[in-house]
């Protein structure tokens, strides 16, 4: 059962990362595509809490960092999505109850995630992106992530609920 769960998780992360680079560029706005991996992490956070989401964030971030055509220093998206998963997991008690709260969580997560990635790039000068340009990309990314949320987040949350091992309520 645990192996099957791990397999499904691997497939979900792979699918998110691949669709992000192979399908969505056709629907990109100014090169910005919806960050599907981030939505998967937020869904994991809302259903399962910060620890699980941080692990999912680390794995999917690493997948983005290593899968072609990525060429930045590896570990940067992993770092961003670990933080996103943890933070989103901390607010889940409020966010899992209403749709609006979930959308606000996605917007905040997208803003935090993309900002951390951009900032880590500035620190490492990999490449040294001028803040003005980063500030132009981040809002677009937030809007696109929010737009795609109704199609992805409920689906992912249902999946994570199905994958949740049965446990005693406390």
């Amino acid at each position: 059962m645990a192996a099957a769960r791990a397999l499904v998780l691997t497939m979900v992360i792979t699918l998110a990362v691949v669709l992000q680079v192979a399908l969505f560029p056709h629907l990109a706005y100014a090169g910005v595509v919806p960050n599907l991996a981030l939505l998967v992490v937020v869904a994991a956070a809302l259903v399962r809490g910060p620890e699980f989401a941080a692990v999912i964030g680390f794995l999917s971030g690493l997948a983005i960092d290593l899968a072609p055509p990525a060429d930045h220093v590896a570990g940067r998206w992993a770092l961003a999505l670990v933080v996103v998963g943890y933070l989103a997991g901390r607010v889940r008690q409020d966010a899992r109850t209403s749709a609006l709260a979930a959308i606000v969580t996605v917007a905040a997560a997208s803003f935090v995630g993309t900002s951390i990635f951009a900032l880590s790039g500035m620190v490492l000068s990999d490449p040294a992106v001028p803040a003005v340009e980063a500030l132009a990309v981040i809002p677009t990314a937030v809007v696109y992530d929010v737009l795609i949320t109704p199609f992805v987040l409920p689906l992912m949350m249902r999946l994570f609920r199905r994958l949740e091992p049965h446990q005693v309520a406390y």
Binding site: L23, G31, L66, P68, D126, P127, T140
Partner: protein, 303 residues
């Protein structure tokens, strides 16, 4: 409540562990320089994700209304025809450009006629594009080491220079576009053969411009002047004579000695699809190599 507290404590531990892991990977990769310890991992990921990306791109492609897709051989024939036309157009462009005339005047034409001027190309399609959120302009193409594609090879299409291969896996390769911030290309002005360096601005689409810094401060580039690649030894990473773009404006500031020209690239980077990777004419691989004027079938690379 006690349960919740107990539940929260390991959460910090996991977070700290994962953050530490992220920082470790970043440090290893950033400090590693040319041969980073993360590269083997990259190769593994490339070989795993590359085919999946190819598959996804193949599934997505029919919806882009590419004609002749549904019959494989027909589409391949079409691709070969298109690339031949591309090759011809490219050579036409080369011949008509002022660079070619200059070359001829400099008796370089001798070299030209002596044989291999047309570059051998491996055709490839763009299967994945890096998101703008990653702030780097890279794409994945569906030809890799099995087709004879390796790092530091020139990538072009029928319009001009696209970029260079930075990493090649078995069936896919990653291409750094010339508009990326990290990309520097040696360029040559068509009208007076002056050399300079072209740097990307990190944007595609209408703002996808390149900045040209000329080596000779006294030279002022003319508007609409064509810039072609300068070329390096053994054609790596860039072969010579590939058109890059056109000068659209020239700046000079009192603070800087050299003049800076803004180049509008010929290639439309927002709609990249079919590209060619410049390979040696005798490359053997699992797909046809297109030599100047003729097509060598896959597997029989002699010429």
């Amino acid at each position: 409540m006690a349960m919740r507290d107990q539940h929260k404590r390991p959460s910090r531990g996991v977070l700290a562990l994962l953050l530490l892991a992220s920082f470790t990977i970043i440090t290893l990769d950033a400090r590693g320089g040319e041969d980073s310890p993360v590269d083997p991992l990259r190769a593994v990921a490339g070989n795993a994700f590359g085919p999946v990306e190819e598959m996804t791109a193949a599934v997505v492609r029919p919806f882009e209304s590419v004609p002749g897709f549904f019959t494989t051989t027909r589409s391949l024939h079409g691709e070969v025809r298109r690339l031949e036309a591309e090759n011809a157009a490219l050579r036409g462009q080369l011949a008509t450009s002022s660079v070619a005339r200059q070359r001829a005047a400099e008796l370089d034409g001798l070299l030209k006629s002596s044989g291999d001027t047309g570059y051998a190309l491996v055709p490839a399609r763009v299967v994945a594009v890096g998101p703008a959120q990653s702030f780097s302009q890279t794409v994945t193409i569906d030809a890799g080491t099995s087709s004879g594609v390796h790092a530091d090879m020139t990538v072009l299409n029928n319009e001009g220079l696209v970029g260079r291969v930075i990493r090649a896996d078995r069936s896919t390769a990653t291409v750094l576009l010339i508009v990326d911030r990290d990309s520097v290309v040696g360029g040559r002005l068509g009208s007076n053969m002056e050399v300079g360096f072209l740097r990307g601005r990190g944007a595609i689409g209408d703002e996808g411009r390149l900045d040209l810094d000329l080596v000779d401060n006294a030279v002022t580039p003319a508007r609409d002047d064509v810039v072609v690649t300068w070329g390096s030894k053994n054609g790596a990473p860039y072969v010579a004579g590939v058109p890059i773009g056109r000068v659209i404006s020239v700046f000079s500031s009192p603070r800087q000695l050299s003049k800076r020209a803004v180049i509008d690239p010929f290639v439309d980077f927002s709609s990249l699809d079919l590209v060619g990777v410049v390979v040696r004419a005798d490359t053997k691989g699992d797909r046809a190599v297109i030599n100047a004027g003729e097509t060598t079938p896959a597997g029989k690379g002699e010429r």
